[in-house]
């Protein structure tokens, strides 16, 4: 469904993506793992045109998009089929939970308000926040905000949801509720591309895993074999550090 071909991105002297390719099949959950600074987030942002890649190609539903050459209308069409969940939630601060969910429907898709609110309430119910519909983001916990953000992503009925480290900004006790919602979506067959540091989540939910380091894909494949028998030494070393066997944390670059 989504194919990323040879995506390249450079910030000044720093080459962040050195030709990254991956593909996401319909209904799959693909986890992108890798140490900080490996380009995971940049990759995700380039996929949704929040950053413009310097080269490469994106194919969504058989339609090709070339970063840099894509017109505003192309980008709009691409985004219409995708949704993005941010590390810092980025809920609209001047809108209630329900308005956050309905905003894209009413404003961008011209859905009638009543219908949009119906969808909005259904999505909030899905993430377990029906009783918080009229709360503003500042009145919600981090975990609740991220669940509203997921409801907002779901509302526009995307073909794929891109998650950028959705639990990294959360207090440890709030991570579980967000992962539970994501797990439920995966079970319902939602196609998801997830940048994450949650190894256990990747292990138990992801169908495919992509391991990135220094702007390149080191290893990619089905989740089972990836975790059981990693082929590359770099992957093994990463899995050791992140699962704490070596007793060290990965170096934050």
């Amino acid at each position: 469904m989504l194919e990323v071909k040879n995506l390249r991105k450079r910030f000044g002297e720093l080459e962040v993506l050195k030709g990254v390719s991956l593909s996401v099949n319909n209904g799959d959950v693909v986890a992108i793992l890798g140490p900080s600074g490996s380009g995971k987030t940049t990759l995700l942002r380039c996929i949704n045109f929040l950053e413009t890649a310097d080269g490469g190609e994106l194919v969504l539903d058989g339609e090709s998009f070339a970063p840099g050459k894509a017109k505003r209308s192309d980008i709009a069409r691409f985004r219409r089929k995708t949704a993005f969940v941010f590390q810092n939630y980025n809920l609209f601060r001047n809108k209630t939970a329900l308005q956050n969910v309905t905003e894209g429907l009413i404003v961008a898709r011209k859905t009638p308000r009543a219908r949009a609110e119906e969808i909005g309430r259904k999505m909030l119910e899905k993430v377990g926040l029906s009783d918080r519909a009229d709360h503003y983001p500042s009145q919600l916990s981090g975990g609740q905000q991220q669940r509203v953000a997921i409801a907002r992503a779901l509302a526009t009925d995307p073909e794929i949801i891109l998650f950028d480290e959705p639990t990294s900004a959360l207090d440890p006790e709030l991570i579980g509720e967000v992962l539970a919602v994501m797990r439920q979506l995966a079970e319902e067959g939602m196609t998801m591309l997830v940048v994450t540091h949650e190894l256990s989540f990747a292990k138990s939910v992801a169908d495919q895993v992509v391991f990135m380091e220094a702007g390149q894909v080191v290893e990619a494949g089905p989740a089972g074999p990836f975790f059981m028998f990693p082929r590359e030494e770099r992957t093994r070393a990463f899995l050791r550090t992140i699962s704490g066997e070596s007793g060290e944390q990965p170096v934050d670059r």
Partner: protein, 224 residues
């Protein structure tokens, strides 16, 4: 206090307050409204980084903030007739106060716009909104909330600054007071009196600001 002085004060109160209601307040309201339009436009072209317009905006702010309001009033009212442009006092005052206040408020609005995190824009794009939709529905409302207290400040300052319009013969409160002083020779009492009326106006506006802030505060403290 002598009975004569008391009578002067009572008698002059209405004579000062009336031009306050018919001149000072309309001048403030009209000029501040225009100033807000100018401010939002000037702030937006800078925020959106529109090349030539941005330079014009910076030039405008540089000139207006760098020259005294009184000089600006004199240039427009006493200067322009030299090139054949003759304005009545009140319209001249409206023009100068709008342009002057617009420059200051534009900087307030620009800072407020820039204080809205870029993630708010990105989230808007990701749900399919266009730049204009995101600006109108997400960024501007948040910026306006941030800008509201300093803009209220500017409004209150402007009420008092309108007294400078006396210099270009606008018959506002201060000029009315000057006239009464000229005939009664009681400058201390009368200037204190007009000061108190300005204080009254400012107090009302301060109350209005409180109410406005409360209404805008409905979505809670802004935090990242």
């Amino acid at each position: 206090m002598s009975e004569r002085l008391w009578n002067i004060l009572v008698d002059s109160f209405g004579k000062i307050l009336l031009p306050g209601l018919t001149m000072t307040i309309p001048l403030t309201v009209i000029a501040f409204s225009f100033a807000m339009v100018i401010a939002i436009a000037v702030a937006l072209v800078q925020y959106a980084n529109i090349r030539v317009l941005k330079q014009i905006a910076r030039f405008y702010i540089w000139v207006i903030r760098g020259t005294p309001l009184l000089v600006q009033l004199y240039v427009i009212f006493y200067g322009l007739p030299g090139v054949g442009i003759v304005l009545d006092p009140f319209p001249a005052a409206v023009i100068v106060f709008s342009i002057n206040e617009g420059a200051y408020c534009a900087e307030t609005m620009r800072a407020a716009l820039e204080s809205v995190p870029v993630g708010q824009l990105e989230a808007g794009y990701c749900v399919g909104m266009s730049y204009l939709q995101v600006m109108r529905r997400i960024v501007l409302p948040q910026a306006f909330r941030t800008a509201f207290p300093p803009l209220s400040n500017s409004l209150i300052a402007m009420v008092k600054d309108t007294s400078l319009a006396a210099n270009i013969t606008v018959m506002e409160m201060f000029m009315a007071t000057q006239r009464i002083v000229a005939s009664t020779y009681e400058p201390l009492a009368l200037y204190v009196e007009v000061g108190l009326i300005y204080l009254l106006f400012s107090t009302v506006l301060t109350k209005v600001q409180r109410i406005g802030e409360k209404r805008l505060a409905h979505y809670g403290a802004q935090k990242e």
